[in-house]
Symmetry: C2
Subunit: 252 residues, 2 copies
């Protein structure tokens, strides 16, 4: 292929959109995200095996019948620890295959909107596709309302005041690290609490923050549950669970 | 007034909406925010003296002629240090007066949409009104895309990968504290950089993070500027400036 053919080919490529679909309520999509969901040639999304896919569920009210969709099913999610070679191998192959499939569509001149829960560049699976394709195809990322914003809104907990600092921690960190980092925080969010609930509660208590901590499960979604963390006696939480510790900074 | 009158009065109160208007581009308002901006009885917003008001500017394309608006002008913003008694007194009086004015509208049965840049519960001025009124009036907070999401999207910098932790720091912190907290971060955002740019750059360098740091000014807005922090030689940045330090967590 000559350089000229190459250029002509590139000019006809479809655009890859990373579409942040927000925390769960379809009304929290941005205008840009909603417009793209309704107009891209192909709506693509990731889903756990046997489940509808949370991002797909969020945008369902915006998808008219007959839209072209592509579902990519994770070979695994949290069944295997992320520091395992098996996890890296399986997920690596999965994202590579998905990126290849999407690249095939883009080369045919079709636009692809890959849905991302929350914000695409904040712990988003989209990033694993983006790093494989963004250099080669026109790409637009549409920021979204994060899951944590949805949770603190629904919990009625302003998270940072005045000069508060905020720390966002994955619940997968070991207990000593959680404690150490929580001690440096004015306000904190612990994500991915799920099966780490008992450990997270101990770490929050050790850091002296239990009295202010709020547990939020499936924030902005139908099965939302919000409680003081101190009242969560169970050892495991839901997959979409986080713990919020609001700051106590300057009130004027 | 009897308890019954009181109840009847309460039932007719207008609703207070805290409307997150996102980072700057009107397309990044949520569907819920855009609908409210177009339908509330009164659109209220804060603005710096002599300026149009950034939140007002963001939603301008959605405001048809003849909408009822109420502008609240800050008596001061960053001319006086926030730990000064003068700052607290002046701002305290300002928010109290604004809350009273809004309460007056709500009591007349009018809905009030108070615009908040980014997300209302993330460093939002709205919170100072919310804490004065939310117990007494029906209130709905609409989460928004944060300024930092807008900035890392435009800078093309995925911020957190895998099990990265994220630290959000105000640039107002003193240099030693900035360094100490940056050292505990996998990824970091320094907000409110403005006049603190030289200090923030020194702190980022001391923490060994200068090579990855990106400076973003007015992200998603018209006068947006994005550069490596290492290339920002000037001592002061714009008011809407932040520094992003992306995480280096798990790529699969």
């Amino acid at each position: 292929m000559s350089a000229l053919d190459d250029l002509a080919g590139a000019a006809k490529s479809g655009t890859l959109y990373g579409i942040g679909v927000g925390p769960g309520d379809v009304r929290y999509l941005t205008l840009r995200a909603a417009a793209l969901v309704q107009t891209v040639d192909l709506v693509a999304y990731f889903a756990k095996r046997d489940l509808a896919g949370n991002a797909r569920r969020i945008v369902a009210p915006l998808l008219s019948a007959g839209r072209t969709e592509r579902r990519f099913e994770y070979p695994l999610t949290d069944e295997v620890p992320a520091d395992c070679a098996l996890y890296r191998d399986e997920l690596g192959r999965f994202y590579r295959d998905a990126a290849n499939a999407i690249a095939g569509e883009l080369r045919l001149g079709r636009s692809v909107g890959l849905l991302a829960e929350g914000d695409p560049f904040f712990y988003g699976s989209f990033m694993h596709i983006w790093r494989r394709l963004a250099a080669d195809f026109p790409t637009e990322v549409v920021p979204g309302v994060t899951g944590m914003s949805g949770c603190w809104t629904r919990a009625n907990v302003p998270i940072t005041w005045g000069d508060d600092s905020l720390v966002v921690l994955p619940g997968t960190l070991d207990e000593a690290k959680l404690v150490e980092r929580l001690r440096f925080a004015d306000a904190a969010v612990v994500m991915k609490v799920g099966r780490h609930l008992a450990k997270v509660r101990r770490a929050v208590a050790t850091a002296g923050l239990l009295a202010r901590a709020v547990y939020v499960e499936r924030g902005t979604m139908e099965e939302e549950r919000i409680r003081p963390l101190a009242e969560c006696g169970e050892s495991e939480g839901a997959y979409f669970a986080m713990v919020l510790i609001p700051g106590e900074g300057r009130r004027v």
